[in-house]
Symmetry: C2
Subunit: 217 residues, 2 copies
DNA sequence: TAGATTGTTAATCGATTAACAATC
DNA sequence: TAGATTGTTAATCGATTAACAATC
């Protein structure tokens, strides 16, 4: 849980923020100026109390009974909270198609990080560029992280290389790791790891589907 | 929550399964035959009771006090549970770099789905192949899903096309949607949606990092 | 005013963790 | 036997949801 202006925001609430931002932008493009929590809740299939609490937690001003919240103010508060306008620098290790997808993902610069360099072990791609981002040899990971004071490392390397890459990032002083390899990473206690495990997500989906189909029969 | 052999497995437990499988395979490759819950818990930084309960929930036989569980049996039970050996067919819509990454992701065929066709609106990529998978024109989504009785649709299209694609999938009889577009999808009640929202994950990571760095000062 | 909406306290729900007897 | 480990019940924790008075 994180504090901002004496208010507490949970990780789950943070995960909802991009969805709020998306909806608020739609309303804003329709020249609407205020919105109520129940309205957004309905559009996103969420509980209205939850939305109200989330809004209260990020909003710099109070909502107005009957009227709701100012859309432009909510948007500014949420974007500020997520750091959309002052991006942290990051590097990405493993310059394959996943790296390319992330680098070109709907303009990630708007999402609070800026990828400055890519790394790979394959001599064939070293020296090339992905969307304007240079691919360097993996030997230089620690060195570059340290020199550029990089705080975020993204691992898109294959599973069997993920732990080695992780260790190099940690050695380079990286504090947060966004891990796309489907393996558990061992890290010192102070290092943050966010796992993006597609195998795990798929496990949930395909099991749920099987259950649903059983019910249909 | 899902039942299997009178035992209940939660979605969170399912998400832990691929990590168990990874660790069990490592031990198996070292010719070790049994393992205890506390041992796996330690390797994965989990609570030992949680691991024991997860094992009990999937295992076809009971663990033995002092000895623990049979690794090969646990592996077989988990792989069966996740459907690793009888893959469901799926299609993917939006044949960009993210689609390519998913298609080539560590051999996804082992993870319970088999992607049979890709779709795109861009005439340039229609007719090409991605790792042996043909790219067809998006007009044919509903039709093909219906004819081939496809149950899983993967959306890797841009945000502004995601809802349209989703509607086509639903019209084609798809029951489960794996959505990589960073938007909320409106679907009929019986349709399963698993959101893979990178913007949301990044929001958590970058906020946590900011908090951690505040503490360091 | 009436009613939609807010903010807040209390109740519920689900998942994790602790405690502990049973057992190989 | 002693001790590691299991299985299970109870306690804890955190997040979501319900209830309701306050207010524009």
């Amino acid at each position: 849980m994180y504090k901002e202006n004496n208010k507490t925001i949970t990780a789950q609430a943070l995960r909802r923020m991009p969805y709020y931002i998306q909806q608020l932008r739609i309303l804003q493009s329709e020249k609407i100026e205020t919105v109520s929590a129940p309205k957004i809740a309905e559009r996103l299939n969420l509980n209205e109390v939850q939305v109200r609490k989330d809004f209260a937690a990020v909003s710099s001003t109070k909502g107005k009974p009957k009227a709701g919240f100012s859309i432009s103010e909510l948007l500014a508060n949420m974007e500020e909270l997520l750091g959309y306008h002052n991006s942290d620098e990051a590097i990405i290790v493993g310059a394959g198609s996943l790296a390319q997808a992330i680098i070109s993902y709907e303009g990630f610069q708007n999402y609070g990080i800026k990828i400055v360099t890519a790394f790979d072990v394959n001599p064939q791609c070293i020296g090339t560029e992905i969307n304007g981002i240079k691919v360097l040899t993996a030997d230089k990971i620690s060195d570059l992280c340290r020199r550029m004071k990089i705080h975020i490392g993204i691992i898109t390397a294959p599973a069997h290389q993920a732990q080695v890459v992780c260790d190099q990032l940690v050695a380079g002083g990286v504090l947060a790791i966004w891990n796309f390899a489907p393996v558990h990473l061992s890290v010192p206690e102070h290092i943050l790891v966010q796992n993006e495990n597609l195998a795990a997500s798929l496990a949930v989906l395909s099991k749920q589907l099987k259950q649903a189909m059983k019910k249909l029969n």
